[in-house]
Amino acid sequence: MSTENPYLKMEGLTKTFGKVIANNNVNLQVNKGEVHALLGENGAGKSTLMNMLSGIYTPDSGSIFIGGNNVKFSSPKDAIDAGIGMIHQHFKLVDVFTAKENIILGQKQGGFFTNNKKMGQGIRELSQKYQLDIDPDKKVYDMSVGEKQTLEIFKVLYRGANILILDEPTAVLTPQETTKLFKIIKRMTEQDCAVIFISHKMSEVMEIADRITVLRKGQTIATLDKDKTNPKELTDLMVGKSVDLSIKRIETPKEEIALEVKNLSVLNEEKVQVLKGLNFNIRSGEILGVAGIAGSGQKELCESIAGLYPVHEGEIIFKGENLVGKKPAEIIAKGVTMSFVPEDRLGMGLVASMNIVDNLILKQYQAQKGFLINRKPAIAKAKEIVKRFDIQTPGIYHPIRDLSGGNIQKVLLGRELDSNPELLITAYPVRGLDINTCHKIYDLLNEEKKKGVAILFIAEDLDVLIELCDRIMVIWDGRVSGILDAEKATREEIGLLMVGEKSDKTEGAYAI
């Protein structure tokens, strides 16, 4: 690995949007054959920087050099031609096409008709070179998330990319798939590709990166060799001050069962069973973590409890009362609050075009009497929440659409916690948040726990689940594949349960 061979050099890049400086004089050097991690909190300017590199934005000033040549991109196509390939968090694949069809989609060569034989040969050669396991004739909708990601990587490699940008690639993967991805990344660097790796997960950065560049508030703070640094130093650089990285699991007295779910089954619109007889319970003052691959039934579980999803069979007993068949408004009134942060952060629970005040009203106005809405209490609350959660906004009357993702989420959580719930269901509350805020939210959950609230916590980061929760329920394919004592659980064990492989340890041991 040659250390002084800057294959990609970005010098003094600046990009402003209106009055906001997204990138201010940013410098970055990436060498051939290295994995370069990009660390930074939300809004630090990672996305802007990468969007300039992939031709989506044009920089206001500064220059990009590839192999010593000054390049100017005015469209993504220019960037692709220069050998830059971006793998987005959301895959850009056509579901009904095969792998091969997706690969050749949008390719210039071949003209209107494609030369099947030649393509097939090209794909074989490439898959041998990088040891990428691809079935060219498999349709995308038949693929697992890991396979789709491999296909995305393959696609950009096929287009001749030798600088790959991976934007939070592990967010959607199981630990096993992550391991596989890291192998692919290593293989690519062996073939002299450069990889830029964007992630929030410190453990992964420490595992895969060769060098790490930290961005903060649109500026480059430092570029460090992995071997000469540690997670604590990196986090401090990211945040700009010293941060306590540990998550406390507080002990609370075991109280009575607050929520008991018995044999819960639901059908989706196509009448396919998506929850297949779930059984579990949560005590007051307990955090039950839920782990599982995306789409294993998390959303349906949350919505069933909140009364938003029709229950096919089973019971949801809350404080001795069956919630099945109750209207959402009645369930809210009983002290059940549900916040689900979807991928776009806005799909449910918030209204993008409305301001903070009107978003706070969402859960309160029905309790008000009369025809008109009294906004005064909500205005006071909005000011309080903005202060307490340190929400960055031009004002409480500003549409939340214009806030950054993290701040939008704070509004949502602020509202839900504010309603003094007895059962708090929260799914992906830290999705895409920076480390500082994440810890703030973990602290808030602990505070609620202390108050005796029963918490159902659905999350992606297994390390966090293990550290924060009392028990961890793993779901797979609409079933509970195991409920583990968080203190004794390991990542590997959870990972296996997430793909439906029962480990010996769970057998019977934690059955309810």
């Binding site: 949007f17 209106g18 050099f65 590839i66 010593g68 040549n69 000054n70 390049v71 100017k72 991109f73 005015s74 469209s75 196509k77 220019d78 031609d81 220069a82 909140a306 009364g307 938003l308 209207k327 959402p328 408004a329 009645e330 369930i331 809210i332 549900m338 806005l346 799909g347 449910m348 629970g349 918030l350 209204v351 993008a352 075009s353 409305m354 009107d358 009203i361 969402l362 859960k363 106005y365 029905q366 008000q368 025809f371 008109l372 809405i373």
Partner: protein, 358 residues
């Protein structure tokens, strides 16, 4: 491609006003060229357009009379549009409102004026509201596409009125000419300051709709539902009920416009009571970004455009189609300017990789 379209991140007020002003200037130049082709002096025509819409108390009154149904219907549409319910059935709702009101007016011509007019208003509100309830019910129950249903219901309402006009309600005293008998004097709205009191009703509605949209629970629910059905369900909003209530309101306001037109303008039931206002109101509603106060402004401006188009037709003896073209050009440029306020077109620098010195 040498140019590309970029979304503007934000735009200063001065710039947005500038773009609009430029749009209007371009509209005037383009239609000016067109007017020139008609062998007329564009400046004369423009001046007389202004003159025709606002040039005398009579003309101002006429512009206001034209604005009333536009304004009222727009207010109704704004409620539906806020919920992202694409009610393009304003035309039909106006007609059905007029039909219900006419039923009262023709059957009870002799009851005292205040009572008769009140009954007619209630009937008009019911007529438009119930007619709008049909697509709302279909949408709430089976998720049908309201755009198509409301549009088609326009034609049914239109043909229904035509049927009445040629058939059961035909005026026996009109020597066979197909028209509905004129209302009795009791069924005709009184005038205040030379304009029928529809203008007062319209102004009251502006305030009521403003309060409803901004400060009422239902108005809030409509806004939430319009943005995201998921969020509405999540907040425990009764979605079906909200759709039915708000669309009933939307239609009933249009129905009231129908009653006013039938009573004060046509003084009978005729196909022409709607006069295309149900469609034109879509434009004024959007131009005003669904804000009741802005709707007031856009309706008056649009009414002025209609009136001035009609004025130059007689004043210069130009064909009605040519007057419509001038109106359409002005509108086209103005609406087009919205695109440039939201987006900008930037010139692409050529996509070559410049050779740097090694």
């Amino acid at each position: 491609m040498l140019y590309r379209i970029e979304k503007r991140s934000d735009i200063s007020k001065e710039k947005s006003i500038g773009i609009r002003a430029l749009a209007i200037l371009l509209a005037l130049i383009t239609s000016g060229a067109f007017i020139f082709l008609l062998k007329l002096n564009p400046i004369d025509v423009y001046l007389s357009m202004l003159d025709g819409a606002f040039g005398s108390p009579y003309r101002i009154r006429e512009t206001i009379i034209t604005a009333i149904p536009l304004l009222i219907t727009s207010l109704g549409l704004a409620i539906a549009f806020k919920m992202q319910f694409w009610n393009i059935g304003g035309e039909g709702q106006i007609l059905m409102g007029a039909f219900f009101a006419s039923f009262i007016a023709l059957n009870y011509p002799d009851i005292p004026k205040p009572i008769l007019l009140t009954l007619m208003m209630i009937a008009g509100i019911l007529g438009g509201g119930l007619w709008a309830l049909i697509p709302a019910f279909f949408k709430a129950q089976w998720g049908t596409n309201e755009t198509i249903v409301t549009l088609m219901l326009n034609y049914i309402a239109l043909k229904w009125i035509t049927f009445l006009q040629y058939g059961p309600w035909r005026d026996p005293d009109a020597l066979g000419f197909p028209k509905v008998p004129n209302f009795s004097p009791n069924a005709i709205l009184p005038k205040v300051f030379g304009v029928h009191i529809g203008w007062i009703i319209a102004l009251i509605l502006v305030v009521l709709v403003y309060i409803f949209m901004k400060h009422s629970k239902k108005g809030y629910e409509i806004a939430v539902l319009g943005e995201s059905e998921n969020t509405a369900r999540y907040a425990g909003i009764n979605i079906k009920k909200t759709i039915l209530v708000s669309i009933f309101l939307s239609g009933s306001i249009a129905g009231l416009a129908g009653m006013i037109q039938a009573s004060a303008v046509s003084k009978t039931l005729a196909v022409s009571v709607s006069g295309g206002m149900g469609f034109t109101a879509i434009i004024t509603t959007w131009l005003a970004a669904l804000n009741p106060i802005f709707i007031l402004v856009s309706s008056i401006l649009f009414a002025a455009l209609i009136r001035s188009g009609s004025f130059i037709q007689t004043a210069f003896g130009i064909p009605s189609a040519a007057a419509s073209i001038i109106q359409a050009m002005i509108l086209f440029f103005f609406l087009g300017s919205h695109f440039f306020i939201k987006y900008r077109i930037t010139r692409k620098t050529s996509a070559k990789i410049a050779q740097g010195g090694e």
